[in-house]
Symmetry: C2
Subunit: 606 residues, 2 copies
């Protein structure tokens, strides 16, 4: 009823604007991975709260496009709203443009804050001859009980933890851009702004960022954020570092006021189309192209520079992994003691890890929604337990997959371990053949993880070239995982950032100082999921007449369960790596563990 | 003296045209790998006959750009001509455009036959504000003793060897292009035309192609070649297959006559700019873009379809590899018997292999200039011996690298083997440590070759994703090779065709039926070169709920020298593959070998 009224209000808005349809995506105006509630228009209108989906409302119809992860959930959540479900990548499903063409629409609206310049251009072509119009937030007036935009404290990331001053970063970005003459580099990604300005916020769940924009020029940085949230320390530092402070809401007017002769630089994939229009408001018609420059660095200059962590950041990461390793060892011992009772559930395991992490005074919170998934639950993509009521009880057999991460002031972690909960052959009541398959799958995932972690490669190698090292070992079994092998990890920032190692090509090269995950997996629907994830950093290997070679150094300090391993599937070198790794974890963590914990850990690794 | 006169004639031509410079590349108007003498303008003017180099002649100066392979040779060959040597990729070397800008040129000529549309556009931008003008061959009038354009017999490739009719191929290309309405697909690559029209020529050394163009329409193929060279059988077949025959020289006028409403399709990287202009001569100014379509298939529709060999072609390839295997075994036995004398030279080895190949009545000739390179000679890229006088004498120690291939009516081969000429530890007078390095390098090359040959991968995998399987094993030694890992091989056609497996990204996927090389290598300057090359074909592996998986099947039947192998560097599976491979070669070839040859082969593999 509530949804139908809201849809009616949207249709009235369409009529007022002389439009036939409006397209509502999932993202916010900064295009980050997590979206503040304020921007969840699609959820408000449809009831569907999955992470990916596009709603289209026309004057007499409505449809929601989403992917296979969400078919069941979306169908349930939109029931009774009159919205059709459009299943992406299923034969016969029209694209949004095809559907709108079939309805003979002539004018389509979007909130220009929620479409990047690049998306907008491509959608305009697809929808032609229908016109696509970008407007200012068309829901502001009609969404009555809209959640407020939060604005939480913004604090300084001190140079003794971040390693570089804002001025140093600005100079490096300016060099990377290589623009002659005066310019305005427009940045919309909040995590890039946090890194550039040595600040951190807490406006977005799990992500230590503040809602912000910035414009970098040859002289200074203009930072747009909620100024009353800025700590006195941060404010004082920023002013010394040639950062000019503005209110968040003053950004668009600032863009409108940009001088007509300044080169506008941005990534068209991350500037929203309303901001784009504002940035060129002062430019004579026909001169836009000569005053625009796409950021020439693959992935963007800020993301590129940020991805190569400096030595201070790397030292912080190592500390973060020690803290996290201690908590993990305590959790693993706790599980070893308590799983046999058969009384624990997934939610309690996640809570318990939080509890152990809180023993470290530096712990700031989780870096993403934790995944604790028992047996078949681990085979569902993006499974997470948000309440104890939904959580599965963990019986003392099968696999338990745990993927969680933490923020510390000096680094962010992300670790996945999969435990085989009993090593007795009769523990599942299942056939020996299935047990063997489980052991083999566990081993092949581990083998891929080790093969990537031990790779040596020449400088200039791209992620797509390395991907097969992690996936290759499982291919002869005809298995595959449908996500990337690796993502970069922020330094007390977002847990997902460039670069990536995936099957898809990207021009970004894997370079010294990068901190990235290594996480192959096997998912057997209805049965189990296995993923083993370490975080590695890229270090020099050697220089020869053939050039410079790099390798990975593993940072994660959490023991790997060797009980399920089928050693026949590992080479001698892989087996050696596994034992050496666990021993290394033991040696580093031992000083921080109680005698009982250290003894327990020692038993696990021999 | 001769060169200086020729350069003077070119300068007079520039003056006559009111131009300041002319740029002369290495290629011909079809952009193939080998260039007929008729097109070697750069060689005529400069004396430099390497495979890669661009000559620029201005009214008062001249310079030749070439890469490091040719610095010494080019300097020697251009001596006394007054031409400067410009060393590519050396600090301080200007680009052609930079150099011309420094001379303040205002009008630059090129022979529009020798620049692709894509190159021409990019060069035009680089040279601006100087004007770039494409003209008809400006050397025709001034190159007095120019070699004639050859035109040798053109014969039919019968369907019982090629596997598909011309009509079937035309329909497949048309579907791949997906162009609605009437169109003219313009093809300039001679090897694509040979495949499409089921014919073969011999106009270009080592390449069974005839100089030709073609235009494929929705109804027929227009073939442009030297009609008097066409065999009666081929002519009769082509006419039945809706191929309209034209003289080679009539091509440009045919393009000029293309109807104004027809969609012109081509690859801008392979149509020369004079042909491009002719193709749009009949199109109203401003309408060019709407009447042009770039071939939408990565690598081009014909190359894409051709790369997936049909079952008849694959059966032919297998026969070709049996023939070639027999000749190779005879050669290897001959070398085993005659190397100890220390009297053989590189040239004689190449000749001897030819001799053994000629014992097969189907043998048509070599598929490329053979490489037989002893020790340090094998470390020079593109080393080849063209006369006995230049050939190095082969002593009974060190490495001998042999890379040669053959054409048979039903397939083309390409094989590289590197022999260790003695397995005694004192055979070089060199230290044990060097001997160990030689054995290890040999083994790592072999390991990479095996790892790629035994790969399993999902359908949709691109070459760049597989490349590291061949290169990875040598990376921990800090070694590298600067060429691709794999190239496609034509079916009684050019030995190099798409797809490729290399470090560089290409969107072409490795798909069922492709026939490709697998050739990692290590080159140690001044010492030795090691390359081991087999040819593989892509076959189905299995289908699972995760999709379709593919693997390689090795076609080459030439034993691999196991004496140098350091088995400690191979896994058990790799070692097993090596023994199984040699045994397979023995079993397949045995029926064709004399008792002595078979016994010799048997001794090699156990």
């Amino acid at each position: 009823m509530y949804r139908r009224q809201a849809l009616d209000a949207v249709r009235k808005m369409l009529a007022d604007n002389g439009a036939d349809a409006v397209i509502i995506p999932s993202n916010d105006c900064h295009f980050g991975e997590y979206v503040p509630d304020y921007f969840k228009v699609r959820g408000w209108l449809s009831g569907f709260d999955g992470s990916a989906g596009t709603l289209v409302v026309t004057t007499s119809d409505a449809a929601l496009w989403t992917d296979s992860r969400y078919f069941i959930q979306a169908a349930r959540q939109i029931e009774g709203t009159g919205i059709r479900l459009m299943k992406l990548k299923i034969a016969g499903t029209p694209s949004i443009a095809q559907w709108l063409h079939s309805l003979n629409v002539s004018k389509v609206l979007v909130d220009g804050d929620l479409f990047s310049r690049r998306e907008f251009i491509s959608l305009t072509k697809e929808l032609a001859p229908a016109a696509l119009q970008a407007v200012d937030d068309p829901f502001r007036a009609i969404w009555k009980d809209r959640p407020a935009l939060v604005s939480k404290p913004i604090v300084l990331m001190p140079e003794n933890i971040g390693g570089k001053s804002v001025v140093e970063k600005r100079v490096a970005v300016t060099e990377k851009l290589g623009c002659k003459g005066s310019f305005a580099y427009i940045i919309s990604a909040c995590d890039e702004i946090m890194w550039l300005c040595n600040i951190r916020g807490e406006d977005i769940e799990y992500n230590p960022v503040a809602l912000s924009y910035c414009v970098l020029t040859e002289d200074c940085i203009h930072l747009f954020c909620h100024l009353e949230s800025l700590s006195a320390e941060a404010r004082g530092y920023l002013e010394l570092q040639d950062v000019v402070l503005h209110e968040y809401g003053a950004f668009r007017d600032f863009l409108r006021g940009l001088d007509g002769s300044v080169t506008r630089i941005c990534q068209t994939s991350s500037i929203n189309v309303n901001n784009w229009s504002a940035a060129f408001a002062n430019v004579k018609a026909g001169e836009e192209e000569s005053l625009f420059m796409e950021d020439p660095t693959p992935g963007g200059s800020v993301a590129w520079l940020r991805s190569r962590k400096n030595s201070v950041e790397l030292a912080g990461f190592r500390n973060a992994f020690i803290n996290d390793g201690i908590a993990w060892v305590k959790l693993l011992k706790y599980l070893d003691d308590n799983i046999p009772s058969g009384r624990l559930n997934e939610f309690q395991v996640a809570e318990k890890l939080q509890e152990f992490r809180r023993e470290c005074p530096d712990y700031l919170g989780e870096s993403f929604e934790p995944i604790v998934a028992y047996n078949a639950n681990a085979a569902s993509a993006h499974y997470s337990v948000t309440s104890e009521a939904d959580a599965a009880r963990i019986k003392p057999y099968g696999f338990l997959l745990m993927d969680t991460g933490a923020h510390y002031p000096y680094g962010t972690t992300d670790t996945t371990r999969t435990l085989m909960l009993s090593d007795r052959n009769d523990f599942t009541g299942k056939s020996d053949r299935l047990i063997q398959q489980m052991r083999d799958d566990y081993t092949l995932v581990l083998k891929g993880m080790i093969d990537l972690a031990t790779a040596v490669f020449p400088s200039g190698t791209r992620g797509s070239q390395l991907d097969i090292l992690a996936r290759g070992p499982m291919y002869p079994t005809g298995k595959m995982y449908y996500h990337g092998t690796s993502h970069g990890i922020g330094h007390h920032l977002c847990v997902h950032e460039p670069p990536q190692i995936r099957m898809e090509e990207s021009p970004l090269v894997i370079d010294e100082g990068m901190v990235m995950s290594d996480e192959p997996a096997i998912y057997i629907e209805g049965q189990y999921g296995i993923r083993t994830e370490n975080v590695v950093t890229v270090v020099p290997f050697k220089e020869t007449p053939y050039g410079k070679f790099l390798k990975f150094d593993t940072m994660t300090l959490v023991p790997i369960d060797i009980r399920p391993v089928n050693f026949k599937l590992l080479t001698h070198k892989e087996e050696q790596w596994l034992y050496d790794y666990n021993e290394h974890v033991y040696n580093v963590l031992k000083p921080y563990l109680s005698k009982q914990e250290a003894y327990w850990l020692w038993k696990q690794i021999v």
